[in-house]
Every structure is written in C-alpha cells, then in structure tokens.
Symmetry: C2
C-alpha cells in the first residue's frame, strides 16, 4: 500500500497536534493481542441459551403453534411465541412491518416462529425441533417486477400493494435534454443480493440488573434503535432498557434490524425465566435471517452531446426489498439522488420503487443504494466515451461538478469540490494515459489487460433520511485524564480514535490521556444510528462541542491566574499559555487542580445537529444532503480469457473527504472499501431461488480473500468543510461506492465486452451470458 | 409511629407536586421482594476468591514475608504482598498513612500483610494460613492520652509525635466569661469505640473489562474516593479505573477507607491473575479491620449566670484515632464546632486533638464527632438546670439561637432558625411539663421513670472539611421518560428517590416516569464522597440545576408552539401550559417529540458547589459551615433498678431540616437515627484491650433490637433555606446526633445519678461505677 495526500504535510498539520496525524488506534494493541471481548465471550452464572425455530415456507399462515413437547424437554426454562409478546408485534424504521416473532403469517424462510431457552445449547437445539407448527401455505412472489403487477400475491394484504414508498428526482426537462443530445444510450443493469459478511455473527446476552433494568449486551450496530424496538416489544419505558454494544466484528449496516429482533427475544426470555439468556448465531442462521444488500433492476437512458456534455439522465429502478421494508425506500432515494453521477446534468428524471417479495429482506449495506446505481451511470459514461471516442477521464473531467455548479438534483453546489483534482491525481497514479492507450490496442493471448476509472458523489450523513443529531460527553478527571464518549458506536471503523483525537486536539493534550468510554443507551443521550458514514461528522462535531465548552471554562480560570486576556490564552502540548507572552504558562494538570479547588465543573455534554436540508420527497426536488464527498477509483485488471478469472492488479482510491482526521484510518477505510467493492464487482451473490437461499456459508458465497486484493494506493484530497469537525466530512461508505464500476470498466476494456449483470463472475466474463437468476426466473 | 409537620399541608405543598410528598421509595418494592443484588450476589465465570492475612501483633516490624508455600497451595492463582504494589503504598483523606498492604510495619491487628486469590474460598482460607511472616515486635500504646506523652511509642517515627492536626474554636474571652458566671460546672465524659454495624459486610468484585478498564463493583460508600486510592495504588489514570457501588446494606460512614483497601487488593489480584476476584468479609473480619467511631475523652468547663445565661464554654478533647488518621481531625473539629450547643455563648475556647494509638482506627460515623460532644454539653445543661433549679426546657429556650444571634464560633446566624419551635413542640409532644414534674418526685420501687431533652445544631455539608461540589445528569428520553443520575450514592437513605422527586417536580411530570441510574465513577463526574448528610443538599441542587436547564430549553420550544411568552409557560401534571391562558397547552410527551424533531437536546449536566464559608483553622475563628440544621430530641425512660436495664418508652425527634423533600423518608431517618443513638447511649461498645478487640460479632456487641426501640414520634420543622433545593438542608446525621444526651438526661432523672462514661450499661446504671476500660487501663 502506498499513500498520498494532496496537501503538503506542513499545511495539513498547521496548528494541529493530534488531528490529521496517523495516530495509532486506541484499540489496536488490545485487538492484536486478542484481548477484547466480543459478544459471544460474555457469560453469566445461570445462563440459558436461546435457539430459534424458522418458518418452513416462504409464505404461509400460521394456524397453530404447539410448544407443549418443547416446554417439557430436558433443560428447557422458557419458550416464547407470538402469544407471549407483551407489547407491539411490529417494528421498522420506515414501515412497521417487521416481527421479532411471526404472528399471523410467515413471509420468508428466515421468519422466526418460536424461541426456546435451555440450560445448554444442545438442549435448546433439541427442544426447538419439538415445536409443532401448523401452516397454511400461501402463494408467494419472488421477483419484485412481478410483485408490482396486478394480482400478484400480497405480502401485506392491508397495504393493497407490494410497492413501498416510491422515490423520485426531478430536475430540468429530460425530454428537452434528450432532444438536445447527439447520442442517447439506453441500458439495463442488475445487481444481486449481497451478504454483509461480517466475520462475527450475531450474538447477544440479556439479563435483569440490580435496578430491574433489562440489560442487553451484544453485537448491536445501533443500540438506540434496538432499545426503542425492545421497549415497544416489551411495552416498557426506554429508561428501563439498557442496550450496550460489545466490541463489533464488523457490521457494514447489517447488525441492525435483526439484532433488534434478537434483543426482543432474549429480553423477553430473560423476563420470563429470570435468568440471563444468550444466543450466538451460526453462520448459516446469520445468512438465513439477516438482511441483504438490495438487488437493483435498473433501466437507464442517458443523453449527451457529441462533445460529451451530459444533457439528460433518465432512470427507472425497481428495488427488491424482500419481506420487510427496512430502509429500502431511502436506499432507493440515495440510489437515484447519487445515480446521475457527480456531474452537471441539467435534466434528470429518476424513479425508484422498493417492492415486497417473499425473498430475504434487504436494507442498509455500506453504500446504501449508491454502489448499485454507480455501476449503471459509470458504465454508461464509459460506453459514451467509447462511442464518442473521448478518453473516459476527459469525459468525466468535462462534466465534473465544480463549486458553483448545479448538481443533478438541482442543488447549487456552494462548497469546495475536490473532484477534478481527485480525477487528475487518480489518473496519474494509475498511469492512465499510457495504460489506457496500451490496452486499447488489440490484445491477444490468454491474459488481457484493462484499466478503468469511475467517480461518484456521496451525500453527507442522514440528510433527507431523517432527523440527524448526536451527543457526546467530555469529562476531565482530577488527575488530568479525560473520559470521552459519544452516542456513536465503533464498529471497527476506528471512530473512538477519531473522537479521542478531536477531544485531545481541542484540549491541547496528548491522546494517551484520553479514554473513550464505550457507550450504552442509558449512559449517553440518543445519538441516532451509526449509519450513513455519519460517525466522524456528527460524533466528531458533538465531541468538539463538548471539548470546546470545557476548554472555554478552563481558559477563563487560567486567564485569571495568568492575568492574561482570555482571548490570548491557548492550550497545546499539555500546557496553557499566553500567546503574547508564551512564558506565562501553566500545565494542563495544574489548571485542572485549580479548577477543581474552585469547584469549576470540567465536564460537558456536546451536541450537534446537521445543517438544514430541504428535500421535497413528493416532488423529488431540493437539497437532499447539505454537502457531499467526492470519490474517484481506478482499477487495472488482467483477465484470464481461458477461465474468465479477473485479477485486479492495481487499485487507486481517491476521496475529497474534507479533512482526514486520521490518515492511517482513512487508508484503512479505502482499503477495506476497495476489497468490498471488488467483491460486488467480481465475486459476491447470494443466490435465492423461489425464496430459498442457495448460498448460506462462505463455502459457496465467495468473498475476495487476501489473494484477490490488489496493490492498493490511497489518495487523500482535502477540501475542509466549514461545518465539519476540523473540516472533516466522511469516508466509510464513499470508500466502497464506486469501486465496482472502476473494475467493470477495466474488465470491459480488457475483454472488449461489457457486463451488465453483477457480479462479473467467471461464467459471465467467459461466456458473456446474462446469468442473472432473476432474469431467468422472469423468462421461466 | 406518629408524625407531625409544623407547617400546614396546604402551605407546605403549594405549587409542589412531588416534592414535600411522602412518595414511595423507588427501590422499595424491589427491596421488599428481595430482588436487589448486593455485592456478594455478583458472580462471574472464572471467579477467584480473595482472603487476607492479618497482622499477629498490634505493633511490629515486618522482617520477611514468605509466600512460597501459599503460592503452591491447591487452587491458588495469585498472592500479593507489599512487593507487588505498582504505585503508591499509602493513602488517606487527611494524612496519607493508610496501607492496603502493610509494608515496613504493622500497627494494629487489622493490618493486612498478604492476600491470596484462589479458585474456592476454602482454598484461599487454607493457602493464606501457609504464608510465613517474620515480625520484630515493637512497643505499643493504646491510650491516646498516654500516646501524647513524651517518650510514648511512635506509630509514625517520621512524624515525631502521635498527635495529628490539632483543632480549635476561639470566640470571645473565656476567662472574662467565667468571671461573669455565677455557676461553673466542670465535668469529664468519655465515649467508647463503636461499630457501624451495617448489616451487609464489606464485599466487592474486580475484573478487567473489554476496554482494559479495571472494573470494581462492591459495597462502596464513596466510589470516587476509592477510585482515586486504587488509581494511586496501581499507578494508573482515573479513567482506567471504574468503581461502581452495588446496592448497599448500610454504611453510616463505614464503607470508606476499608473498601478502598479492598478495592486496591482485588484490582491488583485481578491484574495479576487476569481473572475476576471477589471477597466478602465475615462479620469477624469486618469488626477487626473496619474503622470505628472515635472514642472521645472530654474535659468540659461551662460558666452560667444565676439566671441561666451561658457565659463561657471551655473544652479540651482528646480523640483516639487508632492507627490511621482517616477523618479524625475533622471529626474533632466538628465535635468542637458543635460542642458548645446551639446556644448564644459569647465566650468559647475549645481544643481537640486526635491521636494515633495501636488501637483499631477510627473515622467517620453518622454524626461525625457531634454525638460525642453533644453528650457532654447537653448533660452539663441538665446539671446547670438542676443546680439553678430551672426547667431544662426553659434553660435551653433562654439560650437557644435565633436569627440574628451569634453562634458559639462567632458566626452570625443570618438564616431562619426553627430551634425554639422545635424545643416547644418536642416538649409538648413528649408531655414534658407533666412528666418532668411527676418524675421529679421521689420514686420508689424497682421501676423508676425519667424524661430528658437535648438539642443541637449541625453544620451543613462539608463546610470547613473540604471543597464541596456535586454533579447530576438529567436526560429526557424520546418516549418522555427521564434518566436521572448524580454522583451521590444511595446507601439505603433513599437519596435516589429524593433526586427523582426533585427532577419530577421541576419537569412537571410524575415520579414513575423517572429512572434513577445508579452511578459509577466513569458515568458521572466526581461529586465527592457521600458523607456529611450532603446528599439531598448537594445532589439535590445539582439535579435541580440539570432539570432546570432541560426545562428551560423545552419551555423555549413550547412557547414558540403556543405563541406564548416564555415567562408565561409553566409545566405540571405532565403538560406545559400558558398560565395566562391555561387552555393553551401541550403534553410533556408531545413537547418531547417536537423537541426531538427539532434536534433540541433534552439532556444536561447539573452542577452545584457549596456557598463560600470562611474558617481559619489556625485561629479557630470564622464560619465553618454556611448554615445549620437544628435538632431537638426528647426521651422518656423506665429504669429497672434491680437490673440496671433502661427501657426507652417514648421518643420524640424534631428537626428544622429546611424542607422535607420526602416526609416519609425523613421520619425513616429520624427513626433509624433514634435507634442508633439509643445504641450509643445504652448498649454499644467495642471493647479493645491492649489493641485486642474483645467484641467481634453481634453476640457480645449489643445493638438495640426491635424490642429496644420505643414508640417514636417525629416532628418536621420547616424553615426553607434559600440555598437548598426547594429549601432543603439535611437530616441523615442530625437524626442521631442528639439522641444519646436526651436518653441520658432521662436516665439521670430516673435514677438521680448521672452517667459520664458511655454506654449507660446495666453495670453503670446499676452500680454507678465508672467502668470505662480506658480509665481502668490508665490506672493499671
């Protein structure tokens, strides 16, 4: 891995001590040493183990559940079904359709009908088999385009349709745009179900604490969401439920709704039995029950002048939501908001609708709709480049958004945009000119090479998706050490280190004085879910707010002591000093002591809420996000034409993320994002046939391994955002959003043929057949 | 039990919904049902049990500690001695003299030389016996008056003296005062070692959490103090140690220094072994190692005019501190500050010194020096009354402090004083006039009766004892429920209910919407120790501050909604409304939703620091406490002259505590305080002979039982203090401070003879002998 930052180090770090430095992760050493406890490592005396019974049909009425035999099985302490739910049966972020325990119907094979808690895992496994469920099978639907048709089986009869909340983007007049175009490209693309593939499967433990509060520790991505779901399920106050995320072995958007369901079941079993109850999923059950990346069925039509100026983008997208809505409508929205590329396009008309099917349900996964639509628009950009014989980089540079431009949603871009720079640096880094030209020549032999590029824009934080605010707490201890916490959860992305860096920089102390306290839902106010790459931006701003308040209070006291005006007092390197007379100084520790003796409180909550946005969901116009990250990826590949095997030889990932709070972690995100995007491009697909998942472990679900991950080069482009903490925007998702089209564009150059249905598997590369099961199914 | 409040209910509760009401304790139901987990109820997988080895001598050098055999014993996982201490060897609030593990010397039989951790308790017990310690015995001293003499064995050679920090009070000119007096009374009093007698013995468990933080849960009265001690002992940052108090089965000042030592040992063993380590003390070990109430040796000289006007109080007090200083100098200070009674005395000269001996160490116990000196001054008041033939109530009324008076320390009393009212109501309630007169007549027969009264003043919170500040946090959840916490610990006194009442009243919601989150040291900022009856005053003020900040923010939003001026918006009964147009209203829950949608933060830290005091410790002049509680107790007793058995028939307890936040809990405090004071008066003494504790369990250490506790009548006198939360001052300690002299004065009337050495045991009442072991020892 090589690294590159576009600002000079001295410029970057001016006035910064910890921020912008490749600080070692707070949890690095412990993780390397194997010390952290993951959810499954937790144990409690008297513990019971839970095991769930899954549906036998993709769609059926539940006539009866007979638990008598299970209840009498050895070691069984509790059994729960729909009849035991004290509160709400349903939950859901957008539509309340999800059930921790199936009630009237089952809608897919991952629906849970009953859960047993027993003294040993084996006893639980054995007992759950003794539950007798009587079903009445119902007709099912597995293709979302079929599900939209009149007369298709309805998953939720009361909704009268399988369509969820339709989303649109309207800007300019596409008819006019197409008329002004010299070239119109119409293409269809599909993407499959994808598994999040976190290495740690779902796991949690629930118990009642000494205050009668229900405590649930586990692999929760979004403890506050889970708490709300569990409180509703149990019909209890939020203050009576305390959810704590354990050290996470990955999530990528996946440990959300299912973890809420698991939390409900364990909490209820714990209440019923009075014992701690735990479960850890097998990989097979994790595949079966967890949500997937939404398959997208995309029809695109793009118009462009002969000079390569984009005039119109029209898209029509059907999103397979599976049995539950989850976040699908907003995934569809982000998909189309970002689905015309980071370009000046005056005319856009995009529609997307997520649709219920009896497939596994789908939802948030790193990128949130954007990796799918980026495949379409960025493939089309290369098709245009080829048709117009314009270099793909040049074509993109021609259309790339700049400050002052209008984005495809009609939003005026008032911020600095590092896209052009990122395109140029990426092209240079991958050796674009030379390689593109070289690989354009006719290649012979088994191994053929190509180079591809792609770019995208990424709306910051939740934007049109919801109220967006986060809390933090900074508390200076009497020995000068500092406890920092936020409502943001660290999934392994390193956010605790980022928060500690921000607090350390503001307080002018070294980061090793800071402990980031892992939050739980009673310890820190609800800060929303840790999604949408919002950790650094939202949590960082909240941390900054808290640290600034504490610093201000300390400066007031120090200014009195030094007899300096407050505005002259600075803090860095563990000392406060007068910038006009730097000899006037007092150590941070001494200042803490003085404050303590004066009973000055050295702790504060911080709070940050996102700048206002203005999105009209009905009309599909406005400002869906207040600002954007800009990303460019380039890939060089070798294709073995004898086997269809694609090898990514080189990969360049460049992002204008505002400010790299921790460059080392930024490269980490880019690297991980590249690997994940390569999986989307080349390997990954959960095959689902008639609602039956064919891939349920990593034997047939192929992830990129170390052998498949290329030499990686990261480029940090920094256009500090005035709203960001130290100018930071975000990176977690951008790092994977435009990987696949870069790889696919390179593959297209190498084999002289384009793949429209992902992944670009051996068969598709080799045979060029459209092998998508969904298409087959439609034909069948 | 009967109750009486001096203000009319309608006046009391005007504008108050929850405060001032006898709200049910938040933890009542769980406690009645046996649900709470006390420290010993905690368990963890892989747990080890710790057992400590005590000193064999009251004073000796440690030449060598051989742990080899113990280390090799079955089940042993770790052994710690002085050689294993990573950080500081000593700790202490006033003088750093205390050791979690003895190093150079042992100074009393409760010093711990070594601790073993093993897989079972039996293995730990067996292994600790195999530790071989080589001692060199040193001469010891057991009487503090002897210890002050030249040439006495020194406990701390480097200090050159056994005396600790001498304390004084100087006001006016006692020589002049005695000249102006018509009657001068000189008397000596002694009080013995007393055990706190919490029903739950010391217990804790230490383990390393997933963040590498050392977690210690246990019966900690003062988690922040313990954290600081443990951090010093381990040489770690305060942020790396997390101390959590479990549900306490009593403490009364006792679970402080020893719990810190236990915390140090368990934490170190946990670090060494990598396992959770737990200990729960036997009653015998608890007696042996825990600190006791300080024995006071008091010489008093009081001058009074023939009309009963107090002219001078002189006192000279020696306090047995045992081997460690603990809080003894401040106990001595409070003893003399409050030791001239709640009276106008123009001339005061008091000296007190705490002294090291090789006895068990002593320290904070409910009352903190005041129960001892109150025995002296209030006995003398009755002697004066008898000599001058003035009714004891009248004598006290003559001298009782009123607003505008000058207190015995020279402090001007600027606050309302409910003392006169309390004296009058108490006298009336006990039936003083009639009974006093009746029992004055010559009594014959075995059973003789008496009635006694006594009063005192009690300085609020820490005052001259240290920096005094506390933190709270109030967080409104999205369902309108509220999480409240403070750095104050609930020992069973009901402070969590008081905090919840205060928050509920300010937020205008019912208390059942509030969860008081048990704090730990990382969760809430250091709020000092929970001592000095400071919970309601300090924690309550901090809670009030936090709740007011949150309310203010909600009112701002509601005012916008209702289009009312902010100053018109009130909240009560779960709704905000315009006081000018009460129909303009919005429910609390609705307001919360609006605030959440606007991303208005509904959480805040609160903070309160005590009003300034001004005490010159060197000169013994100034204002040691900013305000005072005033207490009056009266007792009616029957003495069985055949056995010396005293039965308390009736007891009245009246207190001006500012405001009774929860009258039911106030009566509870008074009742418990009365029982404890009766123990001091009649039953309790830890006999220590040559450093050897003769009483080490409740077989020979006699506590008052249900049979010994009289009919109890409580009187609440309310003079709201402008600084107190809703006017509240304090009650926890006042409830027990002046019980003993009331009982002793009643006994004196009954038997026509006064007891000067406590307790008024069967022998002393029957035989009138001065049976104090200390006096015997001096003679011997």
């Amino acid at each position: 891995m090589t690294e590159q930052r576009t600002l000079e180090p001295e410029k970057l770090t001016k006035g910064l001590a910890t921020v912008s430095k490749p600080v070692k992760r707070l949890d690095a050493e412990d993780k390397v040493k194997g010390k952290p406890l993951f959810a499954d490592d937790y144990d409690r005396p008297g513990i019971l183990y839970a095991k769930q019974l899954y549906s036998k049909f993709p769609h059926a009425k539940i006539i009866n559940i007979d638990i008598t035999e299970a209840q009498d099985s050895p070691g069984v302490k509790g059994v729960i079904t729909r009849d035991d739910i004290p509160g709400k049966h349903t939950y859901g972020n957008v539509i309340e359709d999800q059930r921790a325990l199936a009630d009237v119907k089952v809608r897919f094979l991952g629906d849970v009908v009953c859960v047993v808690a027993a003294k040993t895992k084996r006893q639980a496994d054995a007992a759950v088999e003794k539950v007798k469920v009587e079903y009445e099978e119902l007709p099912a639907v597995f293709d979302p385009r079929e599900a939209l048709k009149e007369g298709a089986p309805l998953l939720y009869e009361e909704r009268k349709t399988n369509a969820q909340i339709p989303q649109k983007v309207r800007h300019g007049n596409v008819e006019k745009g197409f008329k002004e175009s010299d070239l119109i490209i119409k293409k269809k693309f599909t993407t499959p179900f994808l598994e999040h593939s976190y290495i740690e499967p779902e796991s949690a433990i629930a118990f009642i604490d000494q205050q009668g509060t229900i405590r649930i520790k586990g692999s929760f991505q979004n403890p506050f969401t889970a708490r709300e779901v569990i409180a509703g399920f149990l019909s209890m106050g939020l203050d009576k439920i305390r959810v704590q995320k354990t050290v996470l072995g990955g999530t990528f958007g996946g440990k959300d709704e299912l973890m809420s369901a698991i939390g409900c079941r364990l909490a209820l079993l714990s209440l019923k039995t009075g014992c701690p109850v735990k479960t850890t999923y097998s990989r097979e059950n994790s595949f079966l029950e967890s949500h997937k990346r939404n398959p997208f069925y995309m029809d695109y039509k793009v118009g462009v002048t002969k000079d390569g100026i984009l005039k119109a983008v029209e898209s029509d997208i059907v999103v397979d939501s599976g049995v539950y809505c989850s976040m699908s409508p907003y995934i569809a929205l982000r998909g189309i908001v970002q689905g015309a590329g980071p370009y000046r396009v005056e005319n856009v008309c995009s529609d997307a609708v997520s649709v219920y099917t009896n497939n596994p349900y789908t939802g948030a996964m790193r990128g949130f709709g954007s990796p799918q639509t980026n495949v379409a628009i960025e493939s089309i950009m290369d098709i245009i480049a080829q048709k117009l014989d314009i270099d793909p980089v040049k074509l993109r540079l021609k259309n790339a958004l700049k400050k002052g431009d209008v984005a495809p949603t009609g939003q005026k871009i008032n911020h600095e945009v590092g896209l052009t720079e990122a395109l140029q640096k990426t092209a240079k880094k991958i050796g674009w000119k030379k390689k593109r030209k070289k690989y354009s020549k006719k290649q012979t032999g088994d191994y053929r090479k190509g180079v591809g590029i792609a770019c995208c824009m990424r709306g910051i934080s939740l934007g049109a998706e919801g109220v967006d605010a986060a809390a933090a707490s900074v508390s200076v201890q009497s020995d000068g050490r500092v406890i920092v916490t936020t409502g943001i959860t660290d999934h392994g992305q390193g956010s605790q280190t980022v928060m500690a860096q921000i607090a350390a920089d503001i307080l002018g102390i070294s980061i090793d004085r800071i402990t980031y306290l892992e939050p739980d839902t009673s310890l820190i106010p609800d800060s929303g879910p840790t999604v949408a790459s919002r950790s650094t931006f939202m949590g960082g701003n909240a941390t900054k707010d808290a640290a600034l308040k504490v610093k201000k209070r300390m400066i007031k006291i120090v200014a009195e002591l030094l007899e300096s005006p407050e505005e002259y007092v600075l803090v860095s390197g563990g000392r406060f000093y007068d910038r006009k007379s730097p000899d006037l100084e007092i150590s941070f520790d001494e200042a803490v002591k003085v404050c303590n003796n004066k009973a000055v409180p050295l702790f504060e909550y911080g709070w940050y809420s996102m700048p206002a946005i203005d999105w009209d969901e009905e009309k599909g116009v406005g400002e869906p996000y207040f600002t954007y990250v800009y990303s460019v990826n380039a890939a060089e590949v070798t294709v073995d034409t004898a086997t269809g095997k694609v090898k990514v030889d080189n990969f360049v990932s460049a992002h204008d993320m505002g400010r790299a709070i921790n460059p080392m972690q930024c490269y980490g995100q880019m690297f991980g994002g590249a690997a994940m995007g390569i999986g989307l491009a080349l390997y990954e697909e959960v095959e689902v046939v008639e609602g039956v998942m064919k891939d349920r472990n990593f034997d047939t679900y192929t992830l990129p391994t170390a052998c498949d991950v290329p030499d990686f080069q990261g480029i940090i482009v920094e256009r500090p955002d005035p709203e960001g903490p130290f100018g930071a925007k975000s990176l977690g998702e951008p790092a994977t959003e435009v990987v696949a089209p870069a790889v696919l564009n390179a593959v297209a150059q190498a084999i002289g043929r384009r793949i429209y249905d992902l992944p670009a598997s051996l068969e598709r590369v080799l045979l060029g057949k459209k092998l998508s099961k969904y298409k087959k199914k439609k034909k069948g």
